[in-house]
């Protein structure tokens, strides 16, 4: 209990890391609900990996003497640029191929994941100077978050949360029944693009802050858990967000208490919450039938 109180004291040394984790835990599921509902969970695995490849590529260019920002020595900015660019290009390419209806969606996403994973390792291997920094970025060492990155995380994720809440009815409508949406004059392609951009931004920024594993976990597991116990889009989104935030908080506490790596701990907590909810639902079903 003392540790929990200490976590929320203004003097707590890791307070920025805690608040950043909490913010991502609360907001990523708001985006993730659409990955789950649109059956794009595979994309939730591939995009963080593609984002990681973008970070590794930016550092690789740096090693070759090609600087994305000649007067900018800040590694985070360089990494963010690589991450956003790679995710944007991948999303546009995957969305274009989907619209043309060629090939198998799962095949494309799987191939993109494999290529991005291989590229990340190769770019890291080709970077003799910044390997440790780079590996730390790819793992998402949120505990070492800088003040500027903390405020950037709050601003970006706050903006994403606002967009997801204000535009929820449009995103839900075009996702659920795009033909009816077209009939009523909605520009479905523009709404899809907007949703993909928000997903891309959440992933690109989140990977740098908390790493690919945790971003994928926060995008997918809380919505899967919330889907079991909610009816209606608002309750679904809000409960998914609450499960993400709770996982981030409990995960942070356990990580601090037993000196565990934060990302895997958060994901493990989210998985336990999902398992508890599924078990509770199953038990309730048995009781109703008995």
């Amino acid at each position: 209990m003392d540790l929990l109180l200490e976590m929320f004291s203004p003097e707590f040394l890791l307070r920025h890391a805690l608040y950043a984790s909490l913010t991502i835990g609360l907001v990523a599921p708001l985006v993730g609900v659409y990955l789950v509902l649109r059956r794009l969970v595979f994309l939730g695995v591939a995009l963080p990996q593609i984002s990681a490849a973008g970070i590794a590529f930016a550092f690789f260019l740096h090693t070759l003497g090609v600087h994305l920002y000649p007067h900018q020595e800040e590694e985070q900015v360089m990494a963010l640029t690589g991450s956003v660019l790679f995710v944007a290009v991948a999303l546009i390419a995957l969305a274009t191929l989907e619209r043309r209806g060629r090939g198998l969606v799962e095949g494309r996403v799987g191939a993109a994941y494999a290529a991005a994973a291989a590229a990340s390792i190769l770019f890291v291997a080709a970077n003799p100077y910044g390997e440790s920094t780079l590996l730390s970025l790819l793992r998402g060492e949120v505990l070492g978050i800088s003040l500027s990155q903390f405020w950037a995380t709050i601003a970006v994720y706050g903006g994403i949360a606002l967009c997801m809440l204000v535009l929820q009815k449009e995103f839900t409508f075009v996702s659920f029944d795009r033909e009816m949406a077209m009939t009523l004059g909605k520009n479905v392609a523009a709404w899809d693009l907007g949703l993909y951009l928000l997903i891309g931004l959440a992933i690109a920024f989140g990977v740098m802050t908390v790493g690919p594993l945790l971003i994928f976990g926060f995008l997918v597991i809380p919505p899967l858990a919330a889907r079991q116990i909610t009816r209606g889009m608002w309750p679904f989104s809000i409960v998914a967000s609450a499960i993400g935030g709770t996982s981030a908080l409990i995960g942070f506490y356990l990580s601090l208490r037993w000196d565990l790596p934060l990302g895997p701990t958060d994901v493990a907590v989210a998985c336990v919450l999902l398992a508890l909810i599924v078990a509770g639902q199953t038990a309730l079903g048995w009781l109703k039938r008995a």
Partner: protein
Amino acid sequence: MNPNALIRFSEASIGYRGSPVLEAVNLEITRGSFVGVLGANGSGKSTLLKTVVGILPVLKGRLESPMGRPRFGYVPQRDTLDALYPLTAFEVALMGTHGRLAPLSFVRKEMRERTLEALAEVRAEGLADRLFAELSGGERQRILIARALAADSDCLVLDEPVAGIDHTTVEVIMDLTSSLHRRGLTTLMVNHHILSLRGRADEVVWISEHRLVCGPADLMLSKEKIEEMLMAGGG
């Protein structure tokens, strides 16, 4: 030329991605009429409907709305809607009002009231709070019709609304559609249940071998005509 034509196709080719499914389509849908569309699987019935409501563009020829573009209440095949969405029946019906909403605006009270009215019109008020995915086929169909009504549509466009539904429910849905038509709503319906259109449709469009055969329902649904069209592969 029909002065009451709500929709008019003139020498139109319709299809997907530049490949025509139906060619030289000449068809008029009169305001206030009930038009049944029949044809074999894959003959182009749904393609015709999707072109009427503007989901697919006309590849060649013309599609006109002489009285101005109607407000369509589109009822898709219900199996195309994913059961994974945790939407309540009310939320699905409310989507019908979204055509009147500007981006960033919120659903207004009168939109909720119109949705409740539409649910009452299809006798589905009691389903409002239930999950759409958990409803029976007939119940889901009523919710989708309520959604089309909530759009304050001039023309109800239904794509196989009674496919996979038991006989009693087929009659309920057909009676409901008929009563909406009698209140002045132009109705265009793709239907595999040929006989359920008898006494309800005014006109029938039969699609066979990439062509449309149109005529009054009495003639098109006569025993002889049905046999002729089925022999020609139109059903």
